[in-house]
Symmetry: C3
Subunit: 204 residues, 3 copies
């Protein structure tokens, strides 16, 4: 689980660093954004379940991996940039990993299924929200099609797998794939949820 | 007290959802904003007094009531919209309820009168601050006439009632009415506190 | 250490209040911003190390000093304004004080050297980040030359002094001076860290 958490931290930190480079921040601005985006979800989860000091600060591996993501992006960002919409894809991967890890950690701390899924979702969406708030944008989770719902679905798979007594890896793999898949298809196909304004338009 | 807290959560969640609909967010964006605005004040209070995991996440009723507020607003927002400035009024009601509930909960956890009133105020203003920050606006609490001061007054009534040995309901009712009343009159009459710039203008 | 923490709170509260006056907030808006900016760093630190309720709320001295800073700035801001770029200088002083105090408090709670320096840095940059987010600006820590790195350097001096068995005052003084000095020189000389865009420009 720690490995998945570290990978999630890395991809969110990459997405933070990429946004930092796009906003032409200097090296340490990019590193601060890497760290904030990579660690915020996990730190918020740990504070809410009472696991302080949070791993994102007390465990040097999280710190090192955020720094590495920031440095890689800063010095090789033309390479990172080559991927189409890298922030969107990294963000989707981070969302999927953090949703399953956050749900699992909440279950391990004795929370019920609904709070655990909710906490997994919050863990998943936290990093991206901080990234967007810090650069004065409305967070993607509020604007985007199928975002929080993908994290909810991923967390639900973890809870379901555990309640059926399946191996943890099945829940992790299934949950992360479902979450990433939903988000990826939503991005590629431009899937959208109904907007209240559009509904009103139809009603009149 | 739980009932007042749930009602406060509901009205703040309604105000968050209404802002979400105004910004033309999709269904899940509206739900995320409902949840964030409805729960943030209580979650921040619980984290600060060490009551983790916070009720806003661990108690399904808070989750359900935020979801209900989001759905109601999303599907019947023309009805909600009919009220004049619904966000302002919902926000005033949430402020009043959370100020008295937050102050009481802080007192119950052994905090002194001043920290309790302050924590009640923070509980009351937290949801609205998150709402405004998430849609990239300067929070109402910083711009508005008589906002934090109304919450402080409501919390002070709760502390006073308890120190005089009055029944809890007197403190709740009096505090919430004073807070809501101050905020309502300030909105209707356009009451304003002095602005430093205006003072300077007068001095010279 | 409490004295340094109170002075740091005061200067950050002054910087918050000055920004509030510049944005033409009313008296209570200025007070809320003073409190948020002055207390946020310490509150975040205390929550992350599990020291709840945080001193910034439970200790009346922090509350009183934030209120004093807000009132002073509100009524005498033409005096405060007379200093060149007062927000930048106050911010540098708050950064330096909070970096050393935050690092020390984290060490005292049993965190290792790297997490302690990191927590000191977070304590130092937290207040200014909240200030800038609340007025819808991209936080200075992301844009500014030598900001987080100055806090890291100040915290590192504290850790180094303790590991060498030097008196605490040497670590405090040296760390705060190094942090403030780095930040001050960076402001005066316009020192800048490399920007990724500039690098790309050079590469091609």
């Amino acid at each position: 689980m720690v490995v998945l958490d570290l990978v999630g931290t890395f991809v969110f930190a990459l997405s933070g660093a990429t946004v930092g480079v796009k906003h032409r921040l200097d090296l340490f601005g990019v590193l601060v954004l890497s760290f904030a985006v990579g660690s915020f979800g996990g730190i918020a989860r740990d504070v809410l379940i009472g696991a302080v000091p949070p791993g994102g600060i007390a465990d040097w591996r999280y710190v090192a991996i955020c720094a590495a993501a920031g440095l890689v992006t800063f010095y090789w960002h033309p390479f990172v940039d080559r991927f189409r919409s890298p922030v969107l894809l990294l963000d989707a991967a981070g969302l999927a990993l953090f949703a399953v890890v956050g749900t699992t950690k909440a279950l391990d701390h004795g929370l019920g299924p609904v709070p655990a899924v909710l906490l997994g979702t919050l863990t998943g969406i936290g990093g991206g929200m901080v990234r967007d708030v810090l650069v004065s944008e409305v967070p993607a989770v509020l604007r985007a099609e199928i975002y929080a719902v993908a994290a909810l679905a991923g967390g639900a798979v973890v809870v379901l797998a555990r309640s059926l007594g399946l191996p943890a890896a099945v829940g992790y793999g299934g949950g992360a794939l479902l979450c990433f898949g939903l988000r990826y298809v939503a991005i590629r196909r431009g899937w959208q949820l109904p907007v209240a304004g559009a509904r009103r338009h139809r009603d009149h």
